[in-house]
Amino acid sequence: MINKVGREIPDYLLKNGKEVYQGKNYMDGKYIQKASPKTRRYEKPQESKIAESIVKALKDCGAKSGMTFSFHHHLRDGDFVVNMVMKAAIEELGLDNLTIAATSLGSAHDPIADYIEQGKVVGIQTSGIRGRMGEVVSAGKLPTPAIIRSHGGRPRAIEGGEVHIDIAFIAAPTSDCVGNCRGIGGKSNCGSLGYAMSDAKYADHVVVITDCLVDFPNMPASVEAIDVDAVVVVDSIGNPKKIASAAARISQNPRDLMMAENVAKVIASTPYFKEGFSFQTGVGGPSLAANLFLEKYMDERNIKMGWAIGGICGPMVELLKKGKVGKVIDVQDFDLDAVNSINQTPNHFEMSASQYANPANKGAFVNKLDFVVLAALEIDTGFNVNVLTGSDGVLRGAPGGHPDTAAGSKCCIIVTPLVRGRMATVCEHVVTVTTPGDCVDVLVTDYGIAVNPLRQDLIKCLDDAGIKHVTIEELKEKAYSLVGRPDDLEWEDKVVAVLEARDGTILDVVRKIKPFHV
């Protein structure tokens, strides 16, 4: 069946009520039945829940073949926990037929590719997938397609029972002996633990893995002991150097700065740019640099930002400390400035992924967002964005909060160079639609700005402000005139990954790529 963004979705995927993507806000007003986990009672007073090893904790939680284990990605590419747990489950306990449901996976998890090839891991559900795992999944090594969800789509699926987590593993920079966890105070600090919160509430069993045991009670806890079955203390949960960079520096690249300046100009031209406006931006070069130019406009007009959300890094914390933003609320921290600020700097708060972006709850932050500034691997003339598959069709990215913030915000700005090396970023058809075009409003490139024709109101704003813009078709043609028009990718029929829209409908599928022959 062809869906709203023109993608062919095989009928065999449309079972158990699964539908194809029908457009923004299609599920609005519908009801969901929330799932509830089956959890164990701990009535008897207990000194501690510390298990001597991951294997022991797995056994205590009744781990068996065929289960779904969940993980979160606050330790980013420094994470040791996924590999540690899967090794214990597969190599020490001999389990197989396992599904990994992670908030995201990266190249730190290359060893999991072996378990996929051995048939021990049979399911992957994640936002991000990169490195060797992306390659083996793209090669069709999983018996069932991987499921790719946004950061808001994942808690929706968990809360609605589409994903049932048997055991959730919480990588905790600090924990006490009964499992109150925080993202700070240890040696592998990551700040927010927002992505882990829904997992802990909806999993049957919860195992905390920490490398820094602290005195009870570890408060204020991000994941609470009331949800935790076992605590395992290991030497190290991750490589701090890869968990959070020293400090996210604002790019000095003139191209990035020019695009960032144009992003700020566009923002300042809209009616949403007023006292108390809300904002989210990414950490990529031009997205992050937008902070700098936005601040100038805020000073000029004498207005302050009401609140900012997202993955957060230093420059936003800096604005908070200068009193130029009222509150910062985050699900994840990207650098040490942010890690050291959350729950410490007044008005810097933590939130769960559900509270951040879940389209099926009653008050996600993204729905109150004025502006979001996002990057893209590709964007096509329908304003559909791809942040998942490379130009070779292989999985190597992550929708993350992209589709959620794009859909929720009043003005979604994509900022990207027009070409990257020999690849046209603005193209005829993206390889995979990860954020549908009906959620994307403005595109800022180094060669010009284009506004989604669905947003005539924004076109008028830009015109009134004297900001030049062109059609996205012109930008596409410019890109092709510079780097040439690529041949279409060739696919086999087999679907290797299903891309769920944030509301749970199917937005696109990724098929197995045909080997490339010259």
Binding site: P254, M258, E261, D446, Y447, L482
Partner: protein, 304 residues
């Protein structure tokens, strides 16, 4: 092949950005920053044993990249080097809009380059007189001969001072108030205006000193320069801001030009606008203001 229109001798040149002609990544789309002219450098930025490679990349850039309205000028090697003749052939063959003569010290230098340009135009079948020239004054002698240099050729559109070399000759360094070069800048400006060509100030090289840069640009504007050479795209915006006319100047210029045309049609040469006497002498300035205003996005009328 990208055909470039015949270069305009006196166009708007608020900003001229230097780029190493050898770096394809830089020159492939330098026009995106909105600079008025780009200055592709074959001289100091290119190592002695890379001159040929730089010419090669320059030629192909000129032939394959659509620079649109951005003027493309090439800084060639000095006349005391073995490179300048080949540099000129490449510029002309590629269709550069203009050539910047490095270390120019006399009208003879201009004429030497002009002869080589003319020869190259003939060689490559390029329209005679198409390739414009400008001179960089880098020595006291160049400053002293500024007028004869400016007036040496119909191809000359302007003259620029090159601060680095000039300050070395004068045994000084950049000063906050510009006192180090105030005489040279002034003399060059007078010569340029006397000869009826444009005049450009030198680069400001300390990118971390935004305050110093801004002070220098303001002084440039106050002294009457047409524009400034730049080394980084992030310097462009400020120069354009400073060189932009005020809203009042634009409206005044608009009034003057339209009143002049109406009165000329009626056979009147002298008239008043807002109580001020206006005649033909005011027109070039008013038209320049309108052209500048158009470039700055402040004027959309059809008087210029």
């Amino acid at each position: 092949m990208i055909p470039r229109p015949r270069p305009e001798r006196f166009r708007l040149r608020r900003t001229m950005m230097f780029m190493n002609a050898q770096k394809p990544g830089l020159i492939k789309d330098a026009y995106i920053y909105g600079v008025d002219s780009i200055m592709l450098d074959l001289e100091d930025a290119v190592a002695e044993n890379q001159k040929d490679a730089a010419r090669f990349s320059l030629y192909h850039a000129l032939k394959t990249i659509d620079y649109g309205d951005t003027e493309v000028i090439v800084r060639i090697n000095g006349l005391d080097t073995p490179h300048w003749q080949e540099d000129i052939r490449v510029c002309v063959a590629g269709g550069a809009d203009g050539i910047r003569i490095a270390k120019c010290e006399s009208a003879k230098d201009v004429l030497t380059v002009e002869a080589a340009v003319e020869k190259a135009e003939e060689e490559f079948g390029v329209e005679k007189g198409r390739t414009l020239l400008m001179a960089a004054l880098e020595s006291p002698k160049g400053i002293l001969n500024a007028y004869e240099i400016c007036a040496a050729s119909e191809r000359m559109f302007g003259v620029a001072i090159s601060g680095g070399d000039f300050r070395k000759c004068m045994q000084t360094t950049p000063q906050r108030d510009g006192i180090d070069m105030v005489v040279a800048r002034g003399q060059m400006l007078i010569a340029a205006r006397a000869a009826g060509v444009q005049c450009f100030d030198t680069v400001f090289t300390n990118l971390d000193d935004q305050e110093g840069f801004e002070a220098e640009v303001q002084q440039n504007k106050a002294m009457g320069f047409d524009g400034k050479s730049l080394i980084n795209p992030k310097q462009i915006r400020y120069v354009h801001e400073v060189f932009a006319p005020t809203e009042k100047e634009v409206r005044q210029a608009e009034k003057i030009v339209s009143a002049f045309r109406e009165n000329a049609a009626k056979g009147l040469g002298v008239f008043t606008v807002d109580g001020k006497m206006i005649d033909i002498a005011f027109i070039p300035g008013a038209e320049r203001t309108l052209r500048l205003a158009r470039a700055c996005g402040m004027y959309e009328g059809d008087l210029v």
